[in-house]
């Protein structure tokens, strides 16, 4: 049916790009002025002059006869990407500068200098996995670029990753490209959502990931370059760029390296997170999850704390009923410092019982839910986003006197143990529209143990 799409001036290019990506380059659009629309939109009176000015264009788009190109657009051709890029310079520094200029000018880099991805370095990276260079892991949103093992290796080289990190990078990309992971949201949203990348199991320590003081900071090659390899791979394979189709208004937190760290499985009183999911103790996994701003809990080096007090703070933060309009599919990632986990374990908590405790204690009284939240939850039950096996408890509690869970199951609380001593505990929430956490086995045998 004929129609017109309304957007704002700041998002017109993004909207055109998205329409083209979906095979509708002729979709008609009217852009409202961003500098006045966003401030005026709470008031019909203030919107009236904006609507009055836009009205003729909207009507015109609905009735103006189609051009030949609009009616029968040419079929888009496959984007031809050269496999190799040749750069020459009078000496190595000159060529190095030219490579970096070329990559940044083409939006193939993140703004920091890269390691030029020569065929030799890429082949060395590929030698660290048993997976075929041409294996397709999936299509990366928003432009559905094809993610092959080779393309990921090229980006890993650019990031400065060691070859022994490559199986971790591939497994993380398996997570990002899983059909259940909402990559579009974390690649394009106006919010500052960003991924956490958590390694669980023996490979974390073996590869030198920092899981102690400063684990989210700089200085550790494994954390920094695995995260940067993933950032570059998503940028180049999904083809995003700030203010073009990545519309994070203030950018993304930890945009260059994401929040990449490993569990401290030696100091944790509990089994590794990977084992809690059914993996063997000798296996390692990587979890990718979209998160919002981290909430810092505990006392660090400046205030007293108890494990139960930290958990009470978690419950208080997540059970307010505010900001959780999507909570039918919400996931919670909680990173406890080892000392806190030990304190909770000595009080009798296992990871499983702590998940169950959080699930029960965070349920929200029906009376605290907004009508919009109630409606969204009912829609989620009806269309299956609240999975049928989990729906009954929501149905039973969406009424006066009910207490509605904020996640679908207790397993949607993902609890990791990492951080310093002293340290702070970190709470990550994500009110996103899809199941956000994906955990994948790091498939290749530990390259360092294999002597590579």
């Amino acid at each position: 049916m004929p129609g017109v799409y309304l957007t704002t001036t700041e998002f017109l290019d993004d909207a055109k790009s998205a329409a083209k990506d979906r095979g509708m380059p002729g979709l008609r659009m009217v852009a409202l002025p961003a500098n006045t629309y966003y401030r005026a939109r709470a008031s019909k009176e203030e919107l009236l002059p904006i609507a009055t000015k836009a009205f003729p264009a909207i009507v015109d788009d609905l009735v103006r006869p189609l051009t030949a190109d609009e009616a029968h657009p040419r079929q888009a051709q496959k984007q031809s990407e050269a496999a190799n890029i040749k750069v020459t310079g009078k000496d190595y520094p000159d060529a190095y500068r030219k490579v970096n200029d070329l990559f940044l000018d083409n939006h193939w880099s993140d703004g920091l200098p890269i390691v030029p991805p020569t065929a030799k370095l890429v082949n060395t990276m590929l030698a660290a996995t048993s997976r075929s260079a041409q294996e397709v892991l999936g299509q990366a949103a928003p432009k559905q670029g094809t993610a092959t093992v080779e393309k990921i290796a090229i980006n890993a080289v650019m990031a400065g990753a060691k070859p022994e990190y490559f199986p971790v990078i591939l497994a993380a990309m398996d997570g990002f490209l899983d059909k259940h992971y909402d990559l579009t949201h974390v690649q394009a949203s106006t919010g500052s959502f960003t991924p956490i990348v958590v390694i669980s199991g023996p490979l974390g320590k073996e590869l030198g990931f920092n899981s102690g003081i400063g684990m989210l900071g700089h200085g550790f090659r494994a954390n920094s370059t695995v995260g940067r390899a993933l950032r570059l791979a998503l940028l180049n394979i999904g083809q995003t760029w700030p203010a073009v189709n990545d519309m994070a208004l203030t950018g993304r937190l930890e945009s260059y390296t994401f929040f990449t760290f490993a569990e401290d499985n030696e100091k944790s009183p509990w089994e590794p997170y990977a084992v809690s999911l059914g993996y063997k103790p000798e296996q390692s996994t990587v979890t990718v999850a979209t998160v919002g701003n981290p909430i810092v809990l505990g006392g660090g080096a400046v205030a007293p704390w108890t494990g139960q007090g930290v958990i009470d703070q978690v419950v208080a933060r997540i059970s307010t009923g505010a900001g959780f309009n999507w909570f039918h599919s919400q996931t919670i990632d909680l990173v406890l410092i080892p000392d806190c986990a030990v304190d909770l374990a000595s009080a009798g908590y296992s990871r499983k019982s702590l998940q169950q405790y959080l699930y029960e204690k965070s349920r929200i009284p029906f009376e605290k839910l907004s009508p919009a939240t109630v409606q969204l939850t009912q829609e989620a039950i009806a269309d299956g986003r609240i999975r049928p096996e989990n729906a009954q408890i929501f149905k039973d509690n969406l009424k006066p006197g009910g207490r509605v869970p904020i996640v679908q199951t207790a397993d949607d609380f993902h609890i990791f143990v990492a951080g310093g001593s002293p340290g702070y505990d970190l709470l990550f929430t994500y009110p996103g529209p899809n199941w956000a956490n994906q955990t994948k086995l790091i498939g290749d045998i530990s390259p360092t143990k294999a002597g590579q």
Partner: protein
């Protein structure tokens, strides 16, 4: 080596022919659920009604949790209810 992923082109589709005028037509205003979109579309609805008194204006609040990838779930309802649509306000 080139770090970019190759993009398989999607099938390109043309847009539907427009209608010569709005008189007597059913116009569906699709509210995408963004803050203030309902206000803007309500203002627009009043203007359409004033300028095209014989047109029927239908307000359709798209389920807010359903994104563009869920379009097959909600678009049939829009199509069933009208002759034309106005979708907004996207950001």
């Amino acid at each position: 080596m080139n770090p970019r992923g190759e993009i398989p082109p999607p099938p390109t589709i043309g847009i539907r022919p427009t209608l010569p005028n709005l008189d007597g037509k059913k116009i569906v205003l699709v509210d995408n659920g963004k803050f203030g979109a309902d206000n803007f579309l309500n203002v627009l609805a009043a203007m359409l009604k004033q300028n095209y008194p014989n047109a029927t204006i239908v307000m359709y609040p798209k389920p807010a949790a359903q994104t563009i990838t869920d379009m097959p779930k909600w678009y049939p309802t829009v199509r069933q209810q009208g002759d034309l649509f106005i979708f907004g306000v996207g950001d």
